[in-house]
C-alpha cells in the first residue's frame, strides 16, 4: 500500500478494571474508504471508536492519522469528527449555529462561517434551512445535519456510531443509500460501527467483524459472506444452518464428516488445517440448499436428505422453509425458490433437499467459545 492510510491502528488495546474490551486490534483504512466495524453489542466496537475519537485512552498500542500518532492529541484537536448514536445536535441552537459550531471554535471569520455552512447544507441536500430549529426537522434531515456539522470541518476521518439505530425501518433503508452517496460526495474516510449486518454489507467498502475485543476478519462484503474465515463470521454474517460434526476422512480440502446423530456430510475445509478426528462446526447457507419433490433431482448432490415441512415463513422474495430432517430430526432452514413450482407447498409435505460439499464450510470447533 503505497498511499498513506487515513487511519491506522497498531495493536490497540483497552482494558478496564477486570475486563479487556479491545485486544491488540490492528488495521488501516485507506483514504476515501467506507470502513465498517460490525459486531454484536458488547464486542468492544464502541470502545474502539471512542479511542479513535479520543474520548478514551488506549491501554497500549498506537493510533495514527495520516501517519502521525494522535495518542497525545485531545479530542477537540484531533482531525476526526464523530456522528453520535443519537446525533447529539444542540437543541439550544438553530441549524446554522449547530453546523457552524466547530468553525466558531476555530475562530473562523463570521461571514466565512455563514458561507461555508450554507455550502455544506447544500451538499447534504438541505439548502436554506439554517434558521430553523432542530425540532422542525425529520429524522432523516437530522442525520444529514449531523453529518454536515462534522463535514464542514473537513475532518480526515468521520466516525459514525450506529447513527441509523433510532430510525424506523423504511427510513433506515433509505438512509443507507443516502449515507453511501454522501460518503462518495465528500470522498472522506468513514468509519462506521454497527451491529446490523445489512447496514454494513450494503454501504461498506471494507468491513471488520469484531467479537470479544478482536477482529475476526477484515474484508469486503462479498469476502465476508462467501469466504468467512472463522466460524463466528460464518454464523454472524448472513444466515446459515449449523451442524456440529466430526471429521472422519480428509482428502485435500474435501472432508467427510459425521454429526452427533450419525448423519454423514461432505464438506470443505474452509481455512485449512483440519485433521481427521477434529470436532468441527459446519455452516450451510439456506440459499445453497436445493429442494425437490423427486428424490432423483437431489441424488447427484454431495449431501442429500429428505424432510418434512414444519412451517413456511412467507416474506415475498425472502420466503423461507423450515424443515425437519427425517434422518436426524434436526431443523433446517431453506430459502424458498422463487420459481412457481413450490408455491403450493404446505405444512407436512415431504420433500428432498441437498447441497454441494463446496457450500459446506467447516471450521475447527475450538475456535468458537
Amino acid at each position: 500500500m503505497s498511499e498513506i492510510a487515513d487511519l491506522e491502528c497498531r495493536e490497540l488495546s483497552k482494558s478496564f478494571l477486570d475486563f479487556q474490551a479491545v485486544k491488540d486490534v490492528s488495521f488501516s483504512v485507506p483514504k476515501g474508504t467506507f470502513f465498517s466495524i460490525l459486531g454484536p453489542s458488547g464486542c468492544g466496537k464502541t470502545t474502539l471508536l471512542r479511542m479513535i475519537a479520543g474520548f478514551q485512552e488506549p491501554t497500549s498500542g498506537d493510533l495514527l492519522i495520516k501517519n502521525k500518532s494522535v495518542l497525545d492529541v485531545p479530542p477537540n484537536k484531533r482531525p476526526v469528527s464523530m456522528v453520535f448514536q443519537h446525533l447529539a445536535l444542540f437543541p439550544m441552537m438553530n441549524i446554522a449555529a449547530n453546523v457552524g459550531f466547530g468553525l466558531r471554535q476555530r475562530g473562523v471569520d463570521k461571514r466565512e462561517i455563514e458561507k461555508r455552512v450554507e455550502t455544506v447544507l447544500e451538499r447534504v441536500g438541505l439548502p436554506g434551512v439554517g434558521n430553523r430549529s432542530i425540532n422542525q426537522l425529520s429524522g432523516g434531515q437530522k442525520q444529514r445535519v449531523a453529518i454536515a456539522r462534522c463535514m464542514v470541518l473537513e475532518p480526515d476521518v468521520l466516525l459514525l456510531d450506529e447513527p441509523l439505530g433510532a430510525l424506523d425501518l423504511k427510513l433506515r433503508e433509505h438512509m443507507k443509500i443516502e449515507l453511501k452517496k454522501l460518503q462518495a460526495e465528500f470522498n472522506t474516510t468513514f468509519v462506521y460501527i454497527t451491529h446490523d449486518q445489512s447496514e454494513a454489507l450494503v454501504m461498506s467498502d471494507q468491513i471488520a467483524v469484531m467479537n470479544h475485543g478482536v477482529f475476526e476478519q477484515i474484508g469486503t462484503a462479498r469476502e465476508l459472506y462467501y469466504q468467512p474465515k472463522t466460524a463466528f463470521v460464518a454464523g454472524f454474517v448472513g444466515e446459515a444452518n449449523k451442524y456440529d460434526a466430526k471429521v472422519t476422512a480428509k482428502n485435500g480440502d474435501a472432508l467427510k464428516l459425521v454429526t452427533g446423530d450419525g448423519v454423514e456430510l461432505s464438506g470443505l475445509d474452509a481455512v485449512g488445517g483440519l485433521n481427521e478426528g477434529d470436532r468441527t462446526q459446519v455452516f450451510v447457507r439456506p440459499e445453497a440448499i436445493k429442494i425437490s419433490r423427486k428424490q432423483a433431482d437431489i441424488k447427484g448432490m454431495d449431501n442429500s436428505h429428505s424432510g418434512e415441512i414444519e412451517s413456511i415463513l412467507f416474506n415475498g422474495a425472502n420466503s423461507q422453509l423450515l424443515l425437519r430432517d427425517n434422518s436426524n430430526g434436526a431443523q433446517i432452514n431453506i430459502t424458498m425458490p422463487q420459481t412457481g413450482e413450490f408455491r403450493d407447498l404446505t405444512r407436512g409435505d415431504n420433500v428432498y433437499f441437498g447441497w454441494e460439499a463446496e457450500q459446506t464450510r467447516c471450521y475447527l470447533a475450538d475456535k468458537v467459545s
Binding site: F55, P75, N76, Q85, A88, F101, G102, R104, Q105, R106
Partner: protein, 287 residues
C-alpha cells in the same frame, strides 16, 4: 353525561387548591390591602388613602433599607449560583448511583434542623469566642480574638448557606437532563471547557439557573432570622422593618403597606431578571 361527570370530577379535584388559594392567600391579602390603605389620623380614627405608601417613598430610610435588602439578596443569589453550579454539575454529571444520592442527601442535611438552630450554629462558629476565632489563634495566625459576626459578610454567609439547596436542586435536575453526548460532541467539534460551558451547558441549564435564582432571591429577600441574628447592629433588613411596624409599633397600616411594596418590588425585580435572561416564567417553572 360523561362530560358532565368528568367536569364535576375536575372541579372536585380543583377545590382543595381553590380553597387553599382563597382562604390562605387571597383573602388575607385583600384584608391586608384594606388595612394598608387606611391612614391613621387619630386614636381609633382612620381615613382611606395611600398615605402609608407615600411614607415609603418620602422617607429615604425605608427606601434605602429596601434597596439595601434587594442589593444584598441579589448578591447572595449570585454567590449561591457561583458556589452551587459547580456542586450541582459535580453531582449531576460526575457522580453516579449511590454517590450521587449520598451527595444529594448531604445537601439536604442542614434542612433537618430548624432555621433558628442553623443560624445559631453559625453564631457558635463565627462569634468572637467561637470556633473559627479560637482555631485561628490556636494555629497562630492571629494574636487576639476576632469577631466575624455582626457584619454584612456574616449575613451573606448565612443567606448563601440557607439557600444553597434551593439552588442546587433545580440545577441538578436540569443538568441531569443534559445528554452527555452533547458535551462530548461539542468537545469533538473543537470546543474547549470554556466554550462548552458558555454555549452548551449554561444555555441548557438556563431554566434551572433562573428558577433557582428566583427562589433564592425571594427566600433571601423574605428572610428574617438570618440578617437579624448574624448582622447584629447593622442588620437592617426590610422584613425586620415590617416586623417592627406590626409588633413593636402597633402600626399595622404601615406594616401592611410595606408588605405590599415588598411583594410588588420583588416581583418587579424578578420580572426584570427574567427579561434580562430572556426566559419566560412559564418556561422556567413548567419544566
Amino acid at each position: 353525561m360523561t362530560s358532565d361527570k368528568s367536569k364535576l370530577g375536575f372541579f372536585l379535584l380543583l377545590s382543595p387548591l381553590l380553597l387553599w388559594l382563597m382562604t390562605l392567600i387571597i383573602l388575607p391579602h385583600v384584608g391586608m390591602f384594606f388595612v394598608s390603605i387606611s391612614e391613621k389620623v387619630g386614636v381609633r380614627q382612620y381615613e382611606t388613602g395611600f398615605g402609608n405608601y407615600a411614607v415609603f417613598f418620602n422617607e429615604p430610610l425605608y427606601w434605602n433599607t429596601f434597596a439595601r435588602t434587594a442589593y444584598m439578596s441579589i448578591a447572595a443569589t449570585f454567590l449561591t449560583l457561583m458556589i452551587g453550579f459547580p456542586i450541582a454539575y459535580y453531582i449531576a454529571k460526575l457522580t453516579k448511583g449511590r454517590t450521587k444520592t449520598t451527595l444529594f442527601l448531604m445537601c439536604l442535611i442542614p434542612f433537618w434542623v430548624s432555621e433558628l438552630v442553623r443560624t445559631f450554629g453559625w453564631m457558635i462558629l463565627l462569634r468572637e469566642t467561637g470556633v473559627v476565632s479560637n482555631f485561628l489563634q490556636y494555629i497562630g495566625l492571629v494574636d487576639g480574638p476576632i469577631e466575624f459576626l455582626y457584619n454584612d459578610a456574616a449575613i451573606m454567609t448565612g443567606l448563601v448557606y440557607t439557600s444553597m439547596l434551593f439552588m442546587v436542586v433545580p440545577l441538578v435536575t436540569t443538568l441531569d437532563s443534559l445528554d452527555d453526548s452533547l458535551i462530548e460532541a461539542s468537545y469533538d467539534l473543537g470546543g474547549n471547557g470554556y466554550t462548552i460551558l458558555r454555549e452548551i451547558i449554561i444555555p441548557h441549564a438556563m431554566p434551572g439557573i433562573v428558577s433557582g435564582c428566583i427562589v433564592v432571591f425571594m427566600l433571601s429577600l423574605g428572610n428574617y432570622l438570618t440578617p437579624i441574628l448574624l448582622g447584629g447592629k447593622d442588620s437592617l433588613w426590610f422584613t425586620g422593618l415590617i416586623y417592627s411596624q406590626f409588633i413593636t409599633r402597633f402600626n399595622w397600616e404601615l406594616g401592611s403597606a410595606f408588605g405590599f411594596l415588598l411583594l410588588g418590588l420583588s416581583s418587579l425585580i424578578v420580572f426584570v431578571g427574567l427579561k434580562l435572561s430572556r426566559q419566560s416564567l412559564t418556561e422556567t417553572m413548567g419544566r
